[in-house]
Symmetry: C2
């Protein structure tokens, strides 16, 4: 798996919205500023996240973005897969892959499947609520401004 800027930005944005879950909408301006994301790039990402059902939006004055589900209902893996595509390190890992005729594939493919499983085991077992808790427990919180 490789995380692109887009994926990184998406996760940070959802985490920011998770912090403000239950409050009034957060403007793209604030999101962009806090996570240091080019605002026009973030626009596209938020559009994607909306289409993916992770985010809702309110237009017009006092508009902004809201998390569409509660933080405990969104796993890291879901967002990553939606933004980045398949997370496996190489295509042959996927279930329906044909063309694995050589002996080399047999044995290396198994390794990639382990790697894939290990990765999924992590990102599919962490929700954004888990991350929020982590933030509360950490020192970082002090220097963070809402």
């Amino acid at each position: 798996m490789k995380i692109t800027y887009k994926g990184d930005y998406a996760l940070k944005t959802i985490l920011d919205l998770a912090r403000h879950y239950g409050n009034s909408p957060v403007t793209i301006h604030d999101l962009a500023k806090r996570a240091d994301i080019p605002i026009k790039f973030l626009e596209q990402i938020l559009l994607d996240l909306k289409r993916g059902g992770f985010v809702e939006s309110r237009r017009g004055k006092v508009g902004g973005y809201l998390l569409a589900k509660e933080p405990s209902g969104i796993k890291l893996g879901e967002v990553i897969r939606f933004i980045e595509g398949p997370i496996e390190p190489i295509a042959c890992v996927s279930k329906n892959y044909q063309g694995c005729n050589s002996i080399y594939n047999c044995v290396l493919r198994e390794v990639w499947q382990w790697v894939n499983k290990a990765t999924c085991g992590i990102i599919d077992n962490i929700t954004f609520e888990d991350l929020l808790k982590k933030i509360e427990d950490s020192d970082c919180t002090i220097s963070y401004q809402i």
Copy 2:
């Protein structure tokens, strides 16, 4: 981590050479044919692998390539890092990374560090001898021709 064609080819090539460890050199022609790799692309990869100390070569007639160390002395992780570069899913995982000032980084970075650790735990604990053993134990061997 993401495995490119180049990395995949490199691993398959070393595995092939591991199978022939202790025998006479293997020609690039045979390597390319068995793993279905474009020969001119494989040329570059073998040049890299030679510079990396994984492979030796003999020129002239009856020349070819040989594994530079014994299969038990080469870990998957070494080859991958040499060919693909850093294996971490995102740059901020690396030790000397600065610029981790936002709270978002703190907590997400930790996740990527877990993923990285899990991946390294796999690929840095498998040698090419392990893979050879795996091949012996598997059914695939039957249809494979040396």
